[in-house]
């Protein structure tokens, strides 16, 4: 692992360093292009994680409704294991993908916020 940066930097993600508050319309366009460039990947990852999370949340809710030790409960537990195995098979990189998605979420939210701030500032100054 190369990214062993000094611990003081851990609170500052790379996109915060790269994307500073906007000062021009050109810059706005370039930020927006960057956003759009990664948005599709983000949405795909997000949808995948969302559907998997939803599936397990359903099983979890079911599990809580049933009395531990009963046949039904055990059945659901087996279902959880089966789902988990299936998930591992279909998405062996699930955890990396989830992490990547969380990173993209924060990064894109950051860019979006900067653009919104810029738009707001501009709207105010033109009033």
């Amino acid at each position: 692992v190369q990214s062993s940066e000094s611990s003081s930097k851990t609170e500052m993600p790379d996109y915060v360093v790269k994307y500073t508050p906007l000062v021009s319309v050109d810059q706005r366009q370039s930020y927006k292009d960057d956003f759009n460039g990664e948005y599709d990947e983000y949405r795909q990852l997000h949808a995948r994680v969302e559907s998997i999370t939803r599936r397990f949340t359903q099983l979890d809710a079911l599990c809580r409704k049933l009395v531990p030790g009963t046949k039904e409960h055990q059945k659901v537990q087996e279902e959880v294991l089966k789902e988990y195995k299936k998930m591992k098979q279909h998405n062996p990189n699930y955890h990396e993908e989830k992490q990547r998605c969380e990173y993209l979420h924060n990064k894109l939210a950051h860019i979006k916020r900067l653009i919104a701030d810029f738009d707001q500032r501009r709207a105010q100054s033109w009033c």
């Binding site: 759009n36 949808a47 994680v49 999370t53 537990q77 294991l81 653009i115």
Partner: protein, 52 residues
């Protein structure tokens, strides 16, 4: 008492891990430069259309 199924702990772990709350997706940036849009506030539908 965890009897019968040795997988119980394992299942708990899986559920804990896999049901972490997941935020709704970010929406796209669809605001075009507002200034360009509102250059000409031309009414598309005139209330006083002269139709005889």
């Amino acid at each position: 008492p965890v009897e019968g199924s040795g997988d119980a702990n394992c299942v708990d772990e899986i559920l804990k891990e896999m049901t972490q709350s997941w935020p709704p997706p970010l929406t796209a940036i669809h605001t075009p430069c507002k200034t360009e849009l509102s250059k000409f506030p031309f009414p598309t539908k005139d209330a006083h259309s002269f139709q005889s």
